[in-house]
Symmetry: D2
Subunit: 358 residues, 4 copies
């Protein structure tokens, strides 16, 4: 069919914009009709990112000049919280579908969003500008909700930590295997999740050879994890879900490895859990269940989520480990997957990539 | 008093031997009378480790040539499991005290040692050669047992992971605050813990940008942690202690950061826990209680163990984080501290080092 | 036309074999009919390299079982020196074309090969087994010799350092601009060039935070550089070419950055040199001439060679910098490019990859 | 004699201030009477740098509050260019000696300083405020000029790159061995040379796995190198000295490795050069001449400069390699050495440190 679909990219010069731009450049059906950003307007993207020399002639434009929603089938907001909600109503009125990388449209109700906003370091004190559109949005974890994408006016792309934790825990919660709905999670993340802007925590001299726990038990991504798992658990383990989450910043550029500890509601072997996971994710091309622990680098550069499980000797506790590339399955890859599903394309279109190793 | 004490170093050319050699070279009271190893016999240590050029003229000797226990006040076995136990009886008979880096003398009874040996990747099928000497050995975590060192014929230097976890959890267990005695621990370690020998897991092309969980729920260091904490908990939380431990190999050279999740037996604030920890470790020069999470690099190059604690919003769960340099407080530093205590010296002699940053 | 061409891969489980396997899996016209190696025979490649899980079902076979040259249009030797030369005559007799990663077929005459073999750490004392086939081989730097590939029975894939240095210096030598034919080159390389086998120099604890000069002024890749440039310079600068080369091992996995210093035979501006380079490499899709210095990471994961030039204030000396991914343009990428040219395919087939950043 | 000397530290919260503070804390004769900075006034240094917890109770003070030059025997300016020159006259009038980390007092005449200032990215357009004091300053490379320190009112601490290059080349220039006075140098530096302030080039996501050439042939440190070597060469090679220098930023925190290429004025063996270097630096405790190439990590954490030399097969060209810790011998270590010499102390006081390895 060729490149008949048109995407507009907002926030084109951050790592999130860069990631989806690269995927779209190699996509069989999408072209990028405009790349919008606040900085570097008028520059070629390949000047901002010299590794793109020879790959694209796109020039950064301002939102005012090009018009958000103009000349496209989908708008991609690779922007921080509270940007897309400002454009949402106009786009909805114009019948232009969009996907947003931030938390703006991950939640089905204002109350649920409020729990997230309260935790967020920068947005806690302001009201959502388009909360009536929340019911028209789909939470973009395709392995759980892909059937909804085709009809969705809006997709709220999930948080990077949330993707790996949700995929790692869903089969356990779906089967009511998690005692008290309680999980202890240590998340290990690369520096790129914090974006392109220089900051003390991501300063090379500080982060090299280092590892830094941060937002201990207070990270905002936990909200969407707990809500999603609680919905899943209804009727099985039931009751509230409680994810004690400690993110750790590692001296690597890409990747999130999440190690999740649960007590099981009944005795179960690792082998049977692995079998159950394989069955659960059968037909989902981007989840790989491994017999041995996943490594952080295993999915690097690809859209895969690698998962494995180990149980204690008495088979009453389990450790689930999941690994993703935070800029792919944790951000632009899952966005591409969501967009494919919105437009009835192959789920894997533009995403058929072997991980980079070594 | 000058350099009046004499140390013999066995296993001088591994990272463990290197670490204690460097500490002894700068020690006010110890000299190294011989440096023994199996490889590189006849070479100067500074040929094996060029960074020591100009620091020492010591030459590597074979055990046969020099005689283990000859001409020294203490023998330091910086050797793998099952080496020191072969020399132990002869040294005991000769009245020569020693410290051992391996698990050979960390356990007070054969039964307890057996639980460890069963887990160890390489020693599970052979009997201890000097188990009658176990009662004469002290488990070398000075913050718990330093009073015993002065009389000890043998000190069993603790496992690198064990040091950080035990110091992080001891006040909680001592106060009976850990529900069910259950802890979930994710340990993050640098590559140097695996020693100097090239191996696939520590191959740069594999480990760089990577993180690898290994021995999930089966690491042998957990045994000494569980036994030590169970002894502490007697009369308080009581019952068995259960540490679910997942070590992760990180792309850093040095350091162990342990993140420990517990449910509390009663409501307690982080502030009061921090206060309790400061009181508990008052008078212990190498434990630093921090108000914010420790970083992996914080203690690098020093003998410090940095600890901090965060509690959940409802104050019913706590996360304890501890950080050490695995080659210092996790190995040669704690060994030097143990040796100082064995000989009635200042606990900090030769260990007054500021961490390296940035 | 579909996957109508068949490749046999020898040395399938090293990094060189892995690299070309990944390119062939994504190639529009080639399929891999057998993957041969000495180790791991009988294992699926995806067991050896878990990141390939779900990407291929290929199983490692032994050379004896499958027969080198059987059932294929091209044999790819991703093997060390002196392997392909043992099979060369049989393949030539059978009319099977092949490409070799080692130095076996990079040289047109035994005398030239001898200069290389004398320098090589492991092969200096043995005779070439098929030197009569040397005239039938093409040295595989496509930007210089691509017209010859179509007729070549054999392609000698170039050394990783050689690619970047030759591409960086060729326009200068072609124009007779290099005084005395003398160049000082510092090469900075990632660890993966040394392959998959653990070794002290590539041990993470040694290489992390480190940089190690090695084979100073004696590296074997210089031979093919000097010979190629001397051939180019005939009639211009003429006389011998002398490349003083110091390779440095860096704590990165991939990439070679070469910094080359020359005195110019006449005054010339950087701007005019950049223009000349752009003209010279016009029509060569994998050479990018940049206005600012290339970075090591710029071409990572792609087949690009990035080049830039700076001149001294008096315009009498120049510094040329080139950057490649050593496993792509320095090895499997240039091999794929060479194979495409051997079979009359698009030079870029299977190589249309955006570099990975950040 | 105890801690009878008093140092005042200006610029206490940057990496340069941190480095000298740590050395002074462990120094047998110096105490720090005040620590001045513009940021973080009122905070304990250990809050700014948590790794100093338990090491010092010093509080950051403002220059206005404490008075520059008050209550001290020496002022240490660990500050950017153009700070110390503003205080210089007042200090000179008060008879307070000082050392400065910047280029303010590295040059004996305004003309020589101007050549430096023209190159400096930020200071080229403003006049020196105290150029009449230049003759009272000593250029602080103790291996060349230590006899002058005892009388110096001012020491201009050298540039980090300059130290390693000057020490590496001085014996060759002193012996008139460098043809045309021409050297091509590639410098490889860690990120910490750029200081504590976050910036795009030192952003972890950008620098990790990367290497970036910068200020190619225009770095300001070359000026002091060329001037120093030209002074040395008078009467031997004579004429101008020309150092073509390309700095490269590496993904390591500490260290500078400089690789220097020269043509020799006569045939000379590497062995005789090594012998000459050993003789030349005999009696200089911080220069180590190695038989094999130095590594970047070799001197890490110490004040050593490691040097080795290789010659071409025809013994007409040489490659000299030098390695230093840029924050020690390249900054605070050489400053401490200079201060010791200013006050007639042991040159090694407070600097007796074994490098950190692995």
């Amino acid at each position: 069919m060729g490149k008949q679909l048109r995407a507009q990219l907002i926030g084109a010069t951050g790592y999130g914009g860069l990631g989806i731009l690269e995927l779209l450049l190699g996509h069989p059906h999408f072209e990028v009709t405009s790349a919008v950003a606040r900085d570097d307007v008028g520059k070629r993207i390949a000047e901002v990112y010299p590794h793109l020399t020879g790959r694209t002639d796109l020039v950064v434009q301002s939102a005012d000049d090009v018009g958000v929603g103009a000349n496209c089938d989908v708008v991609i907001f690779a922007t921080p919280d509270r940007v897309s909600q400002g454009y949402a109503r106009a786009l909805a009125d114009a019948g232009v579908r969009f996907i947003d990388y931030s938390g703006d449209f991950r939640f089905p109700t204002p109350a649920r969003y409020a729990a997230y906003a309260d935790r967020h370091p920068s947005i806690s004190d302001s009201a959502h500008q388009a909360d009536d559109l929340m019911p028209r949005a789909v939470y973009g974890v395709p392995e759980l909700f892909r059937d909804r994408n085709a009809e969705a006016a809006i997709v709220g792309n999930p948080g990077c930590f949330a993707v790996g934790i949700i995929l790692g825990l869903t089969p356990l919660f779906a089967d009511g295997l998690v005692e008290d709905g309680a999980v202890a999670v240590d998340g290990l993340t690369g520096s790129s999740g914090a974006g392109k802007k220089p900051a003390p925590l991501q300063h090379f001299s500080h982060l090299n050879d280092n590892t830094v726990p941060y937002r201990v038990l207070t990270h905002q991504h936990v909200i969407e994890v707990e809500q999603t798992l609680a919905d899943l658990a209804n009727g099985s383990a039931g009751g509230p879900v409680r994810v004690d989450f400690v993110p750790h910043l590692l001296p690597v550029t890409r990747g999130i490895l999440s190690t999740m500890h649960v007590n099981l509601t009944k005795t179960v072997s690792a082998a049977s859990l692995l079998e159950r996971y394989r069955e659960f994710y059968s037909g989902h091309p981007f989840v790989r269940i491994l017999d041995t622990p996943p490594t952080l680098k295993g999915p690097l550069g690809s859209n895969y989520c690698d998962i494995s499980i180990v149980t204690s000797a008495d088979q009453r506790r389990a450790v689930v480990m999941s690994s993703i590339d935070n800029l792919m399955k944790g951000q632009s890859g899952v966005a591409m997957q969501n967009i494919n599903l919105m437009f009835g394309l192959e789920e894997t279109a533009g995403l058929d990539r072997t991980p980079v190793y070594p």
